[in-house]
Structures are given as structure tokens and as C-alpha cells.
Amino acid sequence: MKWGNLKWSLPGALIVLYLLSGVYVVGSDEMGVVVMFGQVIENRVPPGIHYRLPWPITSVQTPQVAAIRRMSIGFEMFKHLQDIPPSREESERLTGDMNVVFVALMVQYTIQDPARYLYETEAPDFLIRKAGEAFLCQKVGTIRVDDLLTVSKSEVELCVRQKLQAFLDSIAAGLLIRSCNLQKIEPPTEIIEAFNDVARAKANREKIINEAQTYSSELLPRTRGEAQKTVQDAQARSAARISRAQGDVDRFDKLLAEYNRNPSILSQRLFWDTVQEILTKVRKVIVEDKKGQETNLRIVQPAP
């Protein structure tokens, strides 16, 4: 080849450029699928720089398999996340006890098999929404509205997730559900006040029961204390009574011993001691004795 001859260098350069157009890059969160004349020849090209035969022989698609995708069921997502928002109607569900509720579910998923994702089904992402709605409809239709609003949330999430995954597997959609989260469970706005009232009544029930329990737990220990005091008072009185009797008897015994030694002296002495003691305290009136005459006494009430 002569360097001066430019006759072949232009087509040659074009051919080289054409061949070079087969170089492509698979991003770190992507996986490449190479198609030759419409037929998949490579379905799991890892991240990095790769070469394929140029257009129109082969073409390549690189879906993001690592990225977690989100699909909303029954509520509007931000525009940049999902193009077609669901309608309000879509979130309306009937519960097992024939109530109307609005339920919104967020499904997170990833692409498991890029070739299947690309070629098996039309719009697999939206299939998640439609099938998710179907399984949500089935599950919510067996649960009472009160349970749905309170305790059954995780049960619903788990059930929808399992059924949705089984469904996606059965149609080979190449998708893997990562999570299902209920975002909203709401009664219709027209009658939400009635639902709130039930919640208030329930809270109130708890409250007055608690109050009664507090009353009970205060009353009983106090009463037990009182009861104990009553018993102890009785014990104290009883002991006092006995020891008084004992004291009385001791004194009696001692006096009796004395009395037996010389009865008249002791009784004389005791008698006069007592007379003295009494007459010292009391008011005394001494009247002259006139035999055969009545004695008039004016009794004056002592000053109180």
C-alpha cells in the first residue's frame, strides 16, 4: 500500500468506522441482551465494554437489572417514575364485610431475566399493576374493614406478594417482586367521620376501663390496710382487756392474802380509805336529824 494513494483510504476508513460501531458498553447496573436478526444470541452480557457485529446484523438492549423499579397500585406516583397514573377508581376495593375502602399498594421489583422481560410479555411493568389489583381484590374481599384498618396490613402485603410472584413466574415475565407495601387504607371521604367516631369510641372504651382498673387497684390495697388495722385494733383491745384482768386479779390475790391474815382490820381500812376518797371529791350536805320530820332539800344542779 502506497501512502500517496488516497483512492482506497476513504472507503477503508468508512469500513473501519462501520466495524467499530459494534462496540457497546453495558453499565454497572445493567445487563446486555444481544439479538442477531431478531434472534436472541446472548442474554446475560455482564457490565463492561463488549463487541457485537454492527447494525443491521445485530442489535443490543441493556435493561437496568440492578435498579429497583416501583409500580403503584391505586395511587398516583410522581410523573417521572411512572407515566400513566392509576385512576381513583382503581384504588376502590370491597372488603369481606361489604364495605368500600380505598387501598393503595406500592410494589417494588427488579428484572430477574432480561431476555424474558424484554420479549415474553407486552408491558410487563403494567402487568404488575393489573395482576396486583386482581390479587388485592381477592385478598381484601375476605377481610373485614376493621381488621383491614388495624391488624391485617402485613397479611395483605404478604399474600399479594406471594400470589403476584407466582403469577409472574407462571407467565415467565422475568420479574422478581422485592416488596409489597400498603401505602394507604382509607374509608370513603363521605363517611370518614363515622369511622373516626368508631375509633374514638374504641379509645374511650379503653380509657374508662383503665380508669375503673385504676379505681380497683387503688381501692383494694387501701381496704386491705383498713382491714388489717381493724384486726390489729381488736388484738390490742383484747390484750389490754386480758392484762387488766390479770392486774385486777393480782391485786385481788394480794389483798386476799392480807385479808385472810386479819379480815376485819383490812376491810375496816379499805372501807375508810374509800370513804375518804369519795367524800373528798363529792359535795357534801349534812342535815340535822329531826326524828319524825321530813327533810326538805333543794337540789341545785351544779354548774355545767
Binding site: T95, N99, Y119, T223, Y259, I286
Partner: protein
Amino acid sequence: MKKYSARLVIAAILLLLVVSILYQVSETQVAVLTQFGRPIGVVLSPGLHAKLPYPFQQVHKLDSRLLTFDPQAEEFLTLDKKNLIVDAFLLWQVKDPLKFLVSVGNRQGAEARLADLLYSAIGSELGKVPFSALISDIPGEMRLPEICAVIEENCRKPALENFGIEVRRALIKRLAYPQQNRVAVFERMKAERGRIARQYRSEGEEEAQKIRSGADLEAALILAQANRQAIAIQGEGEAKAADIYRSAIQKDAEFYRFLRSLDAYKAFLDDRTTVVLPNDSELLEVLRQGPPK
């Protein structure tokens, strides 16, 4: 120059021939080959294929993917004559491309036929089941998945036989009350909520009352028990005291009476008592008579 342009013309003709002979079937397609408009074969495998150039043979490509058909929701009647809006969708796929092409032609035609199939399958199946088979909080009564399976089965056979379509899934995705029933439904829900709220309130009162009166009763029992015990203790004390007195009195009842009387006088004759003594009282005898002689 003349030689050059002749070459160019030949090259162009060759290229045109290649393009009209070769055709590509992608992963998402099946192709039907027709000769003078008459179908002569089906190409199922993706890749590059050859045919006679137009106008001898023609290629019709069909979507081979699993397709979703989601028609408008419709109102249906259950066995117990309840109106219900049912929203369902179908997953379908071209199974027999030849039959498909001849019978329905394209997707629009297929969807029109599938809509008829789906609606009539739903209508006839819902007409056989009560409302409670669709929605029920009694375990085992709701049979929606089974009903969907029956609907699917009833769509499957005619779709395959008549249109070369395989119905893969049919699912009901929404059940709703018709618009004209909504006010009544909401009223019913509201009344039900009111009933539940009242129930909670009276239940609360009842429960609280029960707890309070239970506590009151228990307290009363505790106090009664304590009082009984106290009375018993006191009685025991009295009895013991009496026993002690009795054993002492037995030694000399006369002397006891004397002593006890003196004690009693001391106790009840206090400073508010006035004693009237005649001057010839024995108590004053010494005072009156002077010292013994």
C-alpha cells in the same frame, strides 16, 4: 463513466432483490407467509429467513408476546340479583398464527372477539354464584380465584378453536358497587359504624362498671372478714379475762364483792355527786361523839 453507472445500477437492483427476499422475524414475532394472498406457511423461529420476492410471496408478522387485554368494566348480576361492576382482564397469545390471521386478522379484531367471550363468560358464571362467593369475611366462602379459573376455562376453548388464540389468564381485578347504589351503600356503612361505635361505648361502660362493682364487692368482703375476725378476737379476750376473774373470785366471793363494791363507788361517785349525810350518820360518829373515853 458509463461503465461505472452501469455497475451502480446492477448493485442497486441486487440490493433491492436481497431486501425483498430476506426478512427478519424478531424474538417477539411470528410470521405467516402468503403466496398470492393464500397462506402457505408459518415461521415460528426468530432470525433471518428467505422468501420469493413481492408480488409472489408476502410476509405477515404477528406479535407473539403475551398480550394484555383490559376492556372497560361492566355491570353484572349475581345469582341473588345483586348488581356489581366487574373489571377483568385477559392475558392472551397468538397460538395458531394461520387461524388467527384468517379469522380475526389483527389485534383489534382479536380484542373485539375476546371482549365478547370474556363478558359472556363472566356474565354466565356470575349468574350462577351468590354475591357472597365474590366477597365474604367467612373463611372459605369467597371463591373468587376459582371463579376466575372457570371464566378462564370458558374463554379458552372457543378462543383457541375459533381464533387460534390461547387465553393464558383471566383475572377479575376490581369489584365495585354501581354508581346508583353508592349512596345506599354509604348510608349502610355509616349506620353500621354508628352501631359499632355505640356498642364500644356501652361495652366500655359495662366493663368499667363490672370492674368497679367487683372491686367494691371485694373491698366489702375484705372489711366484713376483718370485722368478723376482730369480733372473734375481742370475744376471745373477754373470755380469757372472764376466766381469769372467775378463778380469782372462786377463792373468796364475799371479799371480792366487798372490794369490787368499793371500786365501783370510787368510780361512779365523782365530783359532780352531792352526798346528803344525816348528822347522825355512822360516818360522822366519831366527829359527833368525840374521842373514845
